[in-house]
Each structure stands twice: as C-alpha cells, then as structure tokens.
Amino acid sequence: MSIALATAPAATGGPVKPKRERTFTHTDGRPDYIKIGLWASLMITGLLWAVPFYIMFVTSLKSQADIANTLAWELPTQWMWSNYAEAIDTGNLLTTGSNSLIVSLIKVPLGLLLAAAAAFAIARIKFRGSRIALAVIAVGSMVPIQIGLGPLFTTMLSLDLLDSRWGLLLPYLAFGIPYQVFVLYGFMRAIPDEIEESARVDGASTLRIFFRLILPLAKPALAALFILDFVATWNEYAIATTLLQSQSNWTVPLAVQSFSTQFATDYGPLNAFVFMSAVPVLIVYLLFQRYFVSGALAGAVKG
C-alpha cells in the first residue's frame, strides 16, 4: 500500500533542488509561529534542565570562601581545580573507581550472556513450560529489589560473602537478569523461524544456532541493554550499601557519603566528585548511543 505514496507528487516545474528541511516556515515561506513557539518552549525547558548541571560545575570549582560569599550561579573568583584532586582523595576514587569498574566490567557482559542464553531457550526452543518460565522471569523484573534486602544480607552472611566485591557480583548478576531476559525474549521471538530452520537443515547444532545466528541478530537489543545495565550497575546503591562495609570494598556511589560529616558538607569537592563519578557512564553512553534509541524498544528484524 505504500508504493503509491512513495511516488507522491514530485515538485512540478523548475530545476529539482535538493529538498531543504522546512523548520520554521510554511511551504510558501511565511514564518510558522506555532513551530517557533514550540521550539522556544522546548529550548527554555532544556535550559531549565541544564541549570543543575551548570550549578554543579561552578560549585565544583569554588573555594569554601566563594561558596559562602558568591551567589550560587556566579562564577568562582578563584578557580579551584584542586577541588578535583581533593575529591579523588576524599572519595578514595582510585579504589572505589576500580572496584566499580571491576564489578561492572565482569557483571555486565556475563549477565547479558546468561540472560541471552535463557531468553534463547524460552523464545526459540519450544519446550513445555516455557510460558511459566517467562512468567516467573517477568514477575521478577517488576518487583522492587528492596523487598529482599534483609534476607539477602542473611544469605550472603551465611555464604561468607558479605563485604566482598566478588560476593557483590552474584546479586548484581541476579538483579539484571529478569529485565534483560524479558526484553531479549521479545526480540528473539521476532526472528523469523525460516532463518533458524534453514540453519538446522544445514546441520547446525543448538549451540551453534545460539552463538552464530541468534546472538548476532540480537545485537541491537544487546547494545541497548548493555548501556542500561552498565548505568544501573555503576550507579547501584541499595545492594552495595547493604552488603559492603569496609571502605576498601566500597563502590563509587557509596563514596558520596565521605563528603559529609555530621556538621557540614564539603560542597566544592562533592560536586567535583559527582561530576567525575559519571564519566565512565557517559563514555559508555556515547559509545553505544546510536544503538540506544532504536534498540531500546524495537523488537523488529528486517527480513
């Protein structure tokens, strides 16, 4: 049905110019005030959204005296780049950062692989009870993890895995799995049967079909989940604060509390720390960004 529309009236007369995108004008060149108004209101909202980042940035460069004596939005009188060094020191960023990095870099790829395997089994191997398996997974992706924090603490205690980075990996793997299986299931389900059948006819084993056929086809979904899971893992606080005690095992989010004593908060270095703590997440986001919007929801495979 789209064929007729694809050849819709082409511009008649005159040399064919490359079609310019009309942003603020009507077809005939009159300014389109509705579009301009829309654009302006989006821009103003965008500016409002950026304000906290601006304040964070200028505060991160202010001395104690500047914080007390300048207005919140004023530039610092003296640019205190040393706040960043102090933040690395107070937040113990070398230790907490590498703890977070180790946990995230193991957990995210491994968790995705396990989730993909389970999703593959549920979506592509037609075994009895696959719908029950899916339901069990779906429920888990929707209830808050905080429900189980108390018993999780007891479980980890009895396994002697409390206050350990390696111990932290296990519940971390667990909390990502349900949502990922759920999303990957939808994605793998949409892969046409003929593709798999022709591979089977060629004698491919189930393992081969998983690694060589289904996983590569699921790449857009995996990339989107990689971002989401990396962000979630890097930023995870509730489980970490329950299970980790000694500062040498802390992950980055736990280190935020190092900047406040009972009486005061060191806002300059704190804001510097907040800014730095997001850098790895921003890098991952930028690297995988092009997959993100399309892969986050799309369950479609082009034939």
Binding site: M43, G46, G140, I147, G150, P151, P171, I177, V256, T265
Partner: protein
C-alpha cells in the same frame, strides 16, 4: 514494537521437513536456562520469599539469636501501632500517582516536540536524558546543595527576584520535604520515559500519516487517529516502568532526607530497610516488604496478563 517481516516466498518444499529430534526439547533448553535461573532464583526470588517467611518471626537479624515464630504479630503491630508504616504507605502510593501525572506528561510532550526536525534537537535530547545516567545518590547530593537554605540556588533566586518570603528550608520542613524530593526525581526520571516514547514514535507508520494528510486530516486528527494508537504499546510500557520505578525510590530519599524530617518523606522501600537494619527488627522489616510486594503485584499483574495474552496469538 510491531514486527514487519516481509513474507518472502517459501523457497523450497524441503524447508518444511524437520530433522529428527535428538533430544527432548526441555533437555535441550535446560543448559541455557540453568545459569540465569539459578542466580535469579537464589539471589533474587529466594530472598523475597524469605522476607515473607521472616515477617512471621521476631528476629533482630543477629546470627547469635534464633528467630521466634510469632504468627501475625508483626502485621498487627504494623497496622495498628506503627504510624510510620501508614505514612510510608501513603507516600509510596502518592509517589506512584504523582509520577504517572507529572513526569510522564512532561516526557510525552518532550517526545512529541523532539520528534520533529528542529535546530538543536539532538542537543536537547541529550540534555533531558543526561540526568538519567547520573546515580540517584549523586543526584540527591546535587539537589541537597540546590535546596540549601542559605547558599542554595532556589532560595537565592527567590531572594534575587524579591520573593524572600517564599524561601523555605525545602528539605527541613515536613510540609515541603516530600515534594522537594519529588521535584528532583522528576528532573531525573523524565529523560528515560522520553527516550522510550521517542523510540515508540518511530513506529508510527509514516505512510498512514501522509495518507491522512493527503486526505485532508488536520494535525490533531492525525495525532488522535494515527499517532496515539501506534504509540499505545510503548505508552503502556512507560506506565508500567514509571510505577515500578516509583515504588523502588530509595537512593534519592536516603541521600536527600533519610526519610525525615519527622518521617515525612518515608516510603515503603526505605521503611522496610530501616526496620530491618537500623531498628534491628527483621520481622517488622519483612512485614513492610511483604506489603510492598503486594502493592507491586497489584499494579503489575494486569499488565502481565495483557502481555501473556498477546503471546498466545
């Protein structure tokens, strides 16, 4: 979410004949299922079920002490003698309702606006999404600074425009603390919903939009009759995620108010944690967690039934 697979002509007849099954399908599926389900079962499902079990016991959480079975005592105490529980219950419900109204509407408007071609579109998308990649606990720290009574942005702006009388101790006043924390969560949460809705808008069939335009439909008619129906599945996903994330709110409150002042920002997830770990009553904590579980399931099961029904087709 709609899948369009152009049906190509079935190539050969032999595509129909299956090779003989070597194993029972379930046995074939098992090795793929076991690792994920073992981790999920032991470190996620089991603790949650155990929270229900422990809610019938009196236990401090210390290993040296044995849990004592007390039946429904924890629940009776929670419902009748624990005003903080009711406070956190209503706060959690209020948070869900407010989140469905405010940030979701903002996200929808932003997605519709940013779905058009315009100058600075990608920059704007990034600005709205950026807060979502920051850890909630760091967002809490940022906003505590913005709300600082004397040096923070909000009160200084009010002072600069001559509205000193409006200045508040935003996080220190039980009347304002809850909404102050909520505003920070709106700032953080809008971007994610917006991205999902933007992705959903890609599923709006452009042929239909153009066909409708050619037939003389107004922008509003196109929106009502083409955009909205195509966006519906995405919208349901966003509603569900918004509800779940509202019930999960924890880091932001811990970081901004710790549940105070006077428990005015207490929510179920945090109160369960506080009862277990701060007040050393795992039984009470389990009872609160059980209520949270029931609330979550009540909100989520209709959606699940809907998805599962879709699977049958």
């Amino acid at each position: 979410m709609t899948v369009t697979t152009p049906s190509r002509g079935k190539s050969a007849a032999d595509g129909r004949s299956r090779p003989p099954r070597r194993h029972h399908p379930f046995l074939r599926a098992l090795p793929y299922l076991v690792p994920a389900f073992a981790l999920y079962g032991y470190f996620l499902v089991y603790p949650m079920l155990d929270a229900i079990r422990i809610s019938f016991f009196k236990w401090s959480g210390f290993r040296t002490e044995e849990p004592v079975f007390v039946g429904f005592d924890n629940y009776t105490r929670m419902f009748t003698e624990d005003p903080v529980f009711w406070r956190s219950f209503t706060n959690s419900v209020l948070w869900v309702v407010l989140s469905l109204l405010l940030p979701m509407m903002i996200a929808l408007l932003l997605a519709l606006g940013l779905n058009r071609k315009m100058i600075g579109r990608n920059l704007l998308r990034s600005v709205f999404y950026l807060p979502a990649v920051f850890a909630s606990i760091t967002v809490a720290a940022m906003w505590r600074w913005l709300y600082n009574p004397t040096l923070g942005l909000f009160n200084q702006v009010l002072e600069a425009v001559g509205l000193e009388s409006w200045a508040q101790t935003w996080l220190g006043d039980p009347k304002f603390a809850f909404y102050s924390v909520f505003v920070a969560s709106v700032w953080q949460a809008v971007g994610f919903s917006m991205v999902l809705l933007l992705a959903g808008l890609q599923n709006v069939p452009q042929e239909l939009v153009e066909a409708a335009r050619i037939d003389g439909a107004s922008a509003w008619q196109v929106f009502r009759n083409v955009t909205i129906p195509a966006l519906r599945p995405t919208f349901i996903v966003v509603v569900i995620l918004t509800m779940i994330n509202s019930l999960k709110v924890f880091d932001l409150i811990v970081g901004m108010t710790g549940g105070g002042p006077a428990q005015s920002t207490q929510v179920l997830a945090l109160w369960s944690y506080t009862q277990s770990f701060t007040n050393h009553s795992f039984g009470q904590g389990g009872a609160v967690a059980t209520v949270l579980l029931i609330v979550s399931l009540v909100l989520v099961i209709p959606y699940m039934a809907w998805t599962m029904k879709g699977e049958e087709k």
